[in-house]
Amino acid sequence: MKPAISVQGLSFCYPDGLAALTEISFQVARGECVGLLGPNGSGKSTLLRHLNGILPERLLGENGPIQIDGTPVTSLHLAELRRQIGLLFQDPDDQLFCSTVAEDVAFGPQQLGLTAEEIHQRVQAALQQVGLGDLAPRPPHHLSTGEKRRACLAGVLACDPSILVLDEPSSGLDPRGRRELITLLRQITATKLIATHDLELVVELCPRSLILDRGRIIADGPTTTLLNDEALMLAHGLERPHVLQHAHPHRGEPR
């Protein structure tokens, strides 16, 4: 079976000469949930944006470094590609650009050219899925950060993507909001790539992780193995999460 995401030798420099990504290669199988870990400025967000086709012209093409579901990312496939990949941005205010929550969730389906009835159904289903059915007519600036994040997720889910790419999904959330998000993400069966600093979240959700530092992939392997390697974690601005260090009072031994 072809991998959902395949990246081969992707390099990218910002216009000021800063090398953001160097020779990135990895694959994500269909249905897999992979954590993308790394310190601030390691290139996580830049990498995620490339996956969605928000990337320079020169990287597009039949022999380009990125393939989604076995199809190379070319300008011809860009619309279809963006339907397949749902990208959740770091700052929910960047993503909620319409005047009400319902309009925002409807934005993606509208761009897909669906009928009014289909759009309505998708909006209702997506809002129900994230538990925001009551907030549909509210303007986004009246929502809490947790609600904003869930509204963003509803906007992404309404496009029915087969791959979900999430940039720091739990940042700025209180413990309850974070817990709700983890439960929600667990229910979503799409292929998931989660860039985050929230190591406990990665331990809960992602069986496999990639570690990115200074634009290079440092390690790729089972999450518990990588995160238990204290020297590796410390060398790349991370740490061994508590959940792997201490026994849980009810569940027993650390993982």
């Binding site: 944006r49 969605n52 086709g53 928000i54 619309a79 963006r82 339907r83 990949i85 749902g86 990208l87 941005f89 700052d91 205010d93 960047d94 993503q95 909620l96 650009f97 319409c98 005047s99 009400t100 309009e103 934005f107 993606g108 761009q111 897909l112 007519p137 303007p139 986004p140 600036h141 906007g155 992404v156 496009c159």
Partner: protein, 196 residues
């Protein structure tokens, strides 16, 4: 800040309201100055509308006060121009037009207005720009108040020159951040299939 609670009207109602407002403004501007009684009737109609929709008088007065420089400006221009337009009539006309706009703004939620504009076939690009402006005005206001608070927390001296310099730097920073945010918003729109 809105003074009264809104209900969600049907799209047809919003369209009628927009058209009604435009007609009323045209009527006020076209009322002949030889028949001032008509201004009185229009004024009563407007006050009646404001009372019917329960718009608090204080709110109307405050809005009028904010907009009064425009009225004063046009009246002054008329007074010193050679066209022979009576400045009192002009001031009355502009005040009535402003009252019409205040009545409309105070009883219409922005999301309804945008829906109405789309229905009367105002160009999509214009409506989208208006919608984005309304959406990000609050985000930018929040951002500027956060920056001002952060600046105030580390300002230990008083001095007018320094205050102006700092205000200018906050404004500049805000502009840079707004531009960066605009780029990210555009990326987010593209990510959900916005046709470029």
């Amino acid at each position: 800040m809105k003074c009264n609670l809104k209900f969600t009207p049907t799209p047809q109602l919003v369209v009628r309201k927009i058209i009604g407002t435009i007609i009323l403004i045209l009527l006020i501007t076209l009322t002949p100055s030889t028949h001032p009684i008509w201004f009185g009737l229009e004024g009563i109609l407007l006050l009646g509308l404001l009372w019917w929709r329960r718009v608090p008088p204080r709110c109307v007065l405050r809005r009028l006060l904010i907009l009064s420089p425009f009225v004063a400006g046009t009246a002054l221009a008329a007074q010193y121009s050679a066209t022979g337009v009576d400045w009192k009539i002009l001031a009355l006309r502009s005040t009535l037009c402003l009252l019409t706009i205040i009545a409309f703004a105070e009883t219409t939620a922005v999301s309804d207005l945008l829906r109405g504009l789309r229905l009367i076939r105002v160009p999509t690009l214009l409506v989208t720009t208006l919608a984005l402006m309304h959406r990000y005005l609050f985000v930018l206001a929040d951002e500027s108040s956060r920056m001002n608070r952060a600046r105030a927390a580390r300002t230990f001296t008083t001095g007018r020159r320094l205050a102006w310099l700092q205000a200018a730097s906050v404004a500049g920073q805000l502009f840079v951040r707004a531009t960066e945010r605009a780029e990210r918003v555009y990326d987010a729109m593209c990510a959900r299939g916005w046709k470029t």
